[in-house]
Symmetry: C2
Subunit: 761 residues, 2 copies
């Protein structure tokens, strides 16, 4: 092996060289002919293909639908980068398997009931002055009225809050322009506080609501104690949006089934779908949240489940809420970048309806209302609020804003198209067909005060025949559309392999600055130092009756301790700190036949807790392939049967005996290896490696490994001095293991330098 | 809306036309310059880019690592098509949330312990005569010794079996050439039957083993009662492979830590990684499984946990097992397509070691052994078994076969390279660098008697700087390599967003023939008719004390029944059949604040079971966006408080009253809509739509919807005859809902015909 390292080092970077000079066996024309690609396809390929190491310009955070997760992907490559678990346990991330994340899921219990999934709908990134800032992400759960908070510093879920009054929600999450509040609106009406009333009292006892969750930016947490709700009529509230700039301080929530219809097909009544879509219009709720905040702070609230609710009566009296008709069964409600307009589509309508905030305010100020709804809320006449209505096509659903003034894109569900139109002048500019049946769409930062244009993604609800078949349950389909030119161009079909995303939000990649590693010993779910974190050398096993705490470290490629003896019935907590500094050097931790897995990124401390209820010899091991000796990163959890007496307690049998000859052979090998490593070091340090942060980081890691090698060498020499050839040989082996890791990193650094045109100093 | 349908129908396919004629705003050269693409990048883009509706040539089934799932993706597009849950509950698929799949997870309990995840390692597709046939997929769990069986007819997990004797496994799954057996080998040694013995008795009491699970192809199930194991020494068994053609009847399992080292760094002992890699060689196990099957059938077994085990003593006496040394810390063991050679790499070695099956058999037949191991197993001398050893590079790990004779690809972990070499002549042909640190690799059908060549995928263990950063936990990286020419060419980097895949297997896409829909009323986890399946019209609620069974149907866009009243404390089972026939028309089912979600593909029946332990009015709803009126696909679960007396039991308040004028307006609208639909029908039937199976299927679906429309029309007219304008209007609305669905499908069919060059008859 030593000779091969030497050869690899001394030779030119053969492989890369070969790749560069190796001509493609096929010409471009041949490839196009073989694969049936048109010239337009080739342009699309060039617009999306991202070579190894390339970066995407935008990052999309997409709801994971019923998967209960967030899907993260890059644009324009449309490659999925990560699933972040929010409401559903996920073992790769240790989410719901380590004690730290279990505490987050515990927050998500509803009325004492554990819930192991979520129906995620609408993610929202924190905003500063109406612009997304990439610090935190919020996501709602429709199946249980909850909101999750994900830190974009480490892409981990750090909080779940349960809505205290709703039985169903949908219209969250949307943030106010400085993320003062996270908006969560109801969906299906219920008795506030999740109480009971018969359906015969639907109009009187059932209600909707919108909750304003206070967000503490500094702590990165929602503060339920500083949050409040506003009672609304039993219309099924749907999506929301916050006003911005001129309309800052207001929020908008639409609704369907303003008919307040209750189905009952089993009793011969027409189903919900008929009764909830009979009228030509539903209601857009217009809410003054800044004033509502004052009313809440003034204590003019009713407490329901210990949560302050502004009643409709108070809201009407204080001028907090108004209604305006909107075309039937609307879905998206979207405020323009300048805050002046609000665009709504009705899924059973054909128009884009553009409301003018100025006109709405004029009507409010003049108290010019067409009347009130059955609950006394003032209703503004449509004609007094509308800027324009523009015929777009069948089933307008959701609108996103372009960077070009007055230009928007609206999804047309029934037509399976996207309409590009001018909402100032009220004219359609272009249409493009998608496959099939588009729900929401997302433009780059298209919901902010400063949309970035360039790309639009159509979140299709059906894939049908778009991809290779994978059984009766199909993937969804996200279609990437180039909107940089006058005409929209379809670029790429991305299958969604897990869950049905409903809504997505995009941010410029450069705004995201996630961590590479945690500060040593961090509990990632609190962001604070973990009380069980230990440094190498501090590892220990503490017993307190039947409770055993094992304070451990993990590093390529061993755990400390390796042998852990407990008694049948003991509760065992493995509190493990990953003591690596290298980027991407994650370790896992699992115990055979037990229901635990940890994901330990560099610096993280996490806890696996088990009850050792069955005697036996169980292996624990690293579940992330971390080095050539990854499979050897293991140990034994010895669970002694009750009453078992061990004559040879603690003794270990050697499988193999080593002699001075073995020691000498190993040392000779190590010395030769060291010479090679030294020459790698020379190669690297003779070049301008310090101009490459990636290489600086690799050198740091290699230095760590060589320091470990030196420690193992010392132990080996100490044993050799005592003529303990067994330990001398094995520690010499360990010394070599560290050398191999250093060589691995060194070769990686060398390759990087060669590929990135480093020069000799 | 009617007019818009009309317009959409009559106009040329504007959108598509615009797309085709709309010139790209940028030229190809401009795009390449803007995105920094080389000519080589463009060729790679053309080789991988797959336009909308295109098909991949191969489908890869990749282990999902610690996610406990299977990842399915297409080659060359590298788009992930589906995650199939095997060991981990996943709500989108209803897996672990419906009663039918809970029964599968229940099979996976180990010693009574529920396990909610798995560490999946090695998937294997069923084979016929040594060729993958695409019927079933097996996958092992390293964290608990289990094997999952996935049907490739519907991509659902249908069985989990627990190994009765191992505490840890790794070397599965691999199948014999006609899938007679699924091979599962141990990893870390334990006391067989998961018993206890102190580590001082490691050499005497700890053992490895390999289990041969009998697969019943007709039933699609493993038969534990016809399966057996073979006891092996306490070497850490690793990967396996079955012989084929000339070597059919034999299987091969390698190992590491043949040193039988037990660590103990906490006691000053060198760690496992040192002691397990001290010797230059480990052992390859060579097993005659056909003869072992005979021995098992002859009853020469010891029962451990009711499972038949052939002891080492018997195995040696019967000539079932032999050993040969292999380079240290090997990983892959791969039999050549003709069955004549077995290639092994040692991760701490530099060579590819090619064993000759003929030579091995000659040594066995001649009883020419170098000696025995400490357990008496005959050891064949390396020189008597080796065909060649070929220097490849640092850390050879796994080998895959090309379609070209004698050509193989071996991953080099430490070098971060793939070596292409000739194992007949023993020479290296090419090398390519990957980023970073490749584990396994997969060539197209590269493990079969008939490899397909063309593509190779490098399953990298680290991504480091390859993608946009997403926090301390990085994605993995699968790199696609073109192997059709003399030189390997890197084509594409695919981030793996969930879990760390270890091994993958690929199959020609054309061999997969998954279902589009289930036979009406299928329990997908058994493949049989669900006893709770009902047809429309048969829906009912049955009560038996506090147990309530609700037999339901789901169709765009309502459930039947819609209102379900139960009492606090009742156990409620919702047994729901999706009565759709249309491809991809999946419905979901969730109950607000409850821990259930169903995925109901067309024809499937599944059960959501809850305990209604808290009174209230809870919405249930469809969790898959199924039509424009999807949000209206809802109902109420009314949980009456204990002792509640309802004066108006069953009564419903109308939110809105309708008159004859409303009825007339709706009917006029419907009549106009019908004219449009009729003209769509004319448009389609005048063309050769029957030449397009996709359109035939859409027409079938549209016909269904129009039949439903006719039923709603009849109800509407019946109510109108009684001057019941409320019901007359609402049923007329429902009639229109079906018309809109028919129009939606009709437009989809029309677009398809236009895009696929249908001609007028």
């Amino acid at each position: 092996m030593v000779n091969t390292i030497q050869k690899r080092l001394l030779m030119a970077t053969t492989a890369v060289g070969m790749l560069a000079t190796g001509a493609s066996a096929e010409t471009l024309d041949q490839v196009m002919a073989r694969r049936g690609l048109t010239q337009q396809d080739l342009v699309s390929a060039a617009k999306t293909y991202t070579p190894t190491g390339g970066r995407d310009e935008f990052i999309v955070f997409s709801s994971g639908g019923q998967s209960g997760q967030i899907m993260v992907y890059g644009v324009p490559s449309m490659r999925i980068l990560k699933y972040v678990s929010v409401f559903t346990p996920e073992p790769w991330q240790g989410y719901g398997f380590d004690e730290e994340s279990k505490a987050i899921l515990e927050q998500g219990k509803v009325d004492g009931r554990e819930i192991h999934w979520g129906d995620t709908h609408h993610p929202a990134i924190t905003e500063t002055n109406g612009d997304v800032d990439g610090e935190y992400l919020f996501i709602n759960d429709k199946s249980a009225p909850r909101v999750g908070v994900v830190s974009l510093h480490d892409f981990e879920t750090q909080q779940i809050v349960v809505n205290p009054i709703l039985q169903s929600e949908h219209g969250g999450t949307f943030v106010t322009p400085n993320s003062e509040y996270v908006i969560e609106a109801a969906q299906y009406p219920g008795v506030l506080g999740r109480g009971y009333a018969p359906l015969s009292q639907f109009n009187e006892k059932f209600r909707g609501a919108v909750t304003y969750w206070k967000f503490n930016r500094e702590k990165g947490r929602i503060e339920p104690e500083n949050s409040f709700s506003l009672e609304l009529p039993p219309y099924s509230q749907d999506l929301s949006d916050a006003g911005k700039l001129v309309s800052d301080g207001w929020s908008f929530t639409n609704s369907f089934c303003a008919e307040r219809y209750v189905g009952g097909i089993e009793s011969g009544r027409p189903p919900f779908e008929a009764g909830c879509s009979q009228n030509d219009t539903d209601y857009l709720h217009i809410i003054n949240w800044k004033k509502a905040e004052e009313v809440y702070k003034a204590g003019k609230v009713t407490m329901i489940n210990d949560h302050p609710v502004i009643t409709m009566e108070t809201a009407i009296a204080e001028g907090l809420v108004y209604l305006v008709a909107e075309p039937k069964s609307p879905h998206g409600v979207d405020v323009s970048p300048d805050g002046k307009y609000i665009i709504v589509g009705g899924k059973l309508d054909t128009q884009g309806s553009v409301y003018s905030f100025e006109k709405i305010m004029a009507a409010v100020d003049a108290k010019k209302f067409a009347g009130t709804d059955p609950y006394g809320i003032p209703v503004i006449a449509m004609e007094d609020a509308l800027h324009k209505q523009v015929p777009l096509g069948l089933g307008p659903l959701h609108t996103q804003y372009d960077s070009k003034e007055c230009v928007v894109y609206t999804s047309l569900y029934v037509d399976s198209q996207v309409a590009k139109w001018d909402y100032c002048e009220g004219k359609v500019l272009d249409k493009i067909s998608i496959h099939y049946n588009i729900g929401h769409l997302v433009a780059m930062e298209g919901e902010t005060v400063n949309p970035k244009g360039k790309y639009l993604i159509s979140l299709n609800k059906l894939a049908i025949d778009r991809f290779n078949p994978v059984g009766p349950l199909h993937p969804q389909n996200h279609q990437l559309i180039d909107i940089s030119g006058d005409k929209m161009e379809l670029l790429y079909d991305m299958p969604v392999p897990l869950g049905e995303p409903h809504y997505a939000t995009a941010i410029s990649a450069e705004k995201l600055k996630p961590l590479v590693r945690y500060k040593y010993g961090t509990n990632s779910r609190t962001g604070e130092r973990h009380e069980g974190a230990v440094r190498p050398g501090q590892e220990r096993i503490e017993r307190d009756g039947t409770n055993v705490k094992v304070y451990m470290t993990a590093i390529r490629s061993h755990f400390t301790p390796e042998i852990i003896e407990v008694n049948e019935g003991d509760t065992v907590e493995f509190i493990i700190t990953n003591s690596e500094r290298a980027e991407d050097e994650t370790h896992g931790f699992a115990v055979s036949t037990y229901d635990v897995n940890l994901s330990l990124e560099p610096g993280k401390t996490a806890t696996a807790k088990i009850v050792a209820d069955k005697p036996g010899a169980f292996s624990f091991y690293c579940t992330e392939f971390c080095s050539a000796l990854h499979l050897e990163m293991t140990g034994f959890l010895m669970v002694k049967p009750k009453g078992y007496v061990d004559a040879d307690a603690g003794a270990v049998t050697e499988g193999q005996a080593y002699t001075k000859a073995d020691y000498d052979k190993q040392v000779a090998n190590n010395v030769a290896t060291q010479e090679v490593i030294d020459s790698v070091v020379v190669y690297i340090t003779q070049r301008n490696y310090d101009a490459f942060p990636e290489v600086v980081s690799l050198v740091e890691d290699a230095t760590d490994q060589l320091n470990f090698a030196a420690e193992a060498k010392a132990k080996s020499e100490e044993a050799a001095a005592k003529e303990d050839w067994q330990n001398a040989t094995l520690w010499a082996g360990q010394w070599w293991q560290y050398q191999v890791k250093a060589a691995d990193i060194g070769l990686r650094a060398k390759t990087f330098l060669d590929e990135h045109g480093a020069v000799k100093k």
